[in-house]
Symmetry: C2
Subunit: 281 residues, 2 copies
Amino acid sequence: MAKRLAVAASDALKADGLRIAELDTSGRPGFVGDKKAGTELLAKRALVLSDLQEKLYANGRSGDKRSVLLVLQGMDTAGKGGIVRHVIGSVDPQGVDHAAFGVPTPEEKRHHFLWRIRKALPRAGQLGVFDRSHYEDVLVVRVHNLVPSTEWEPRYDEINAFERELVDEGVTLVKVAMFVSLDEQKKRLAERLERPDKYWKFNAADIDERAFWPAYQAAYQTMLDRTSTAYAPWHVLPADHKWYSRLAVTELLIEALERLELDWPPATFDVEEQRRRLAQA
Amino acid sequence: MAKRLAVAASDALKADGLRIAELDTSGRPGFVGDKKAGTELLAKRALVLSDLQEKLYANGRSGDKRSVLLVLQGMDTAGKGGIVRHVIGSVDPQGVDHAAFGVPTPEEKRHHFLWRIRKALPRAGQLGVFDRSHYEDVLVVRVHNLVPSTEWEPRYDEINAFERELVDEGVTLVKVAMFVSLDEQKKRLAERLERPDKYWKFNAADIDERAFWPAYQAAYQTMLDRTSTAYAPWHVLPADHKWYSRLAVTELLIEALERLELDWPPATFDVEEQRRRLAQA
């Protein structure tokens, strides 16, 4: 059985030069094996992720300012929520800073588009997760002309500058754009209309959005072309197979955490002395 | 094998009339079975908890204002973090609002003691967790005379009024006070001094606090006597056995969620119509 992805997930999912119109959303780049093998592997790798996350947390509690931020983007039903539940759900909730970004509130609308984002950044030592993000402001906003192009056009550069700043402050960004096919989306929406325990997830507007698919594809393409940087690269995730998506994001997070070369924080006290004190207390 | 606790966890862990000085912290009230049986049962009950939490979340997304708030109190090493990791860790992180309360910041100190608590209350449909809480203000504050008694004494009544308000707003409070023996605490602190992967959890001040054990017991006793109300009762959890603590808190949360009689939110749209629309989209 595969011990891990055949190649590093970050290589397999590289966004550079990729045309998403040509993406095989049912692909499983970097992984050799079927659903069963993938699911078994995920269970094992989740433990590795959990250990690394605990080290990040431990260092955060010991003065290390670094953090990791998973940014999830994708059309409705792409499986962002499933990533949060099944990947982030495998680590200690104490170490997770989760934020979901919906339609901006009236208050948020009165501020710069990065205002609400800055407020939700992960604290030191935390694994942050953004379910949607600042990228909504060059995706849905662009597709529906919610602001004039003179306003959204400069945002690509603003986002790059913002992310440069985050990286300089010690935030490792793991940006993942999830793509399902139009057919797979139809299947997943249909399921929400078939199962009464899924009705609450259904939103009639999601059907309307399907008419804008080509516009979204173009917006996503520009996003990848203009905001996949060396310091904060995008990963393009074929997401028709949920088990594969979860495994791939787990691998991306493991890679990111391994690059931090975390160790357990050393004792900041005299261990022997404290043992003696404890023996008498 | 036991299918669940032999009696409802809320009955087994009732605080009313209980003298904590006489508590057997190695007890496992309400449960018949050993560690192996308890651990197996926990794995099953975690799935039940996760399903109920998803219903709470679904209803929250559909206009229901209710939420559940787990309040964890206990001396150092009592296992509060383990409850968060292993019990709350079994549900979807999207539905969890976690807050840990340490020494108040200078800003927090300038405000009423409930100020920081109110800011951290769970949103509608969320499972909130307080790792320490407003009760610190009648525990550590009282034991160390951080404010005069004329200031902390009225807090019991203030807390009761505050919690009454929360309950009226739809927050179900699950208050759990965890108790380990002085010996068990010594063992757990010793472990933090033996394992380099645990050094970061060690705090020399925790040893100093052991001298205040009787004062803490008295403060906990008064807390239970004065703030265990019909609308927000305390549960007293013998916590020497971590597996039992986790199982018991899981059961308390399941009970609390079951009392909400949650069902999947009904469709707010014409299902047939949406199916037709989707077929054509």
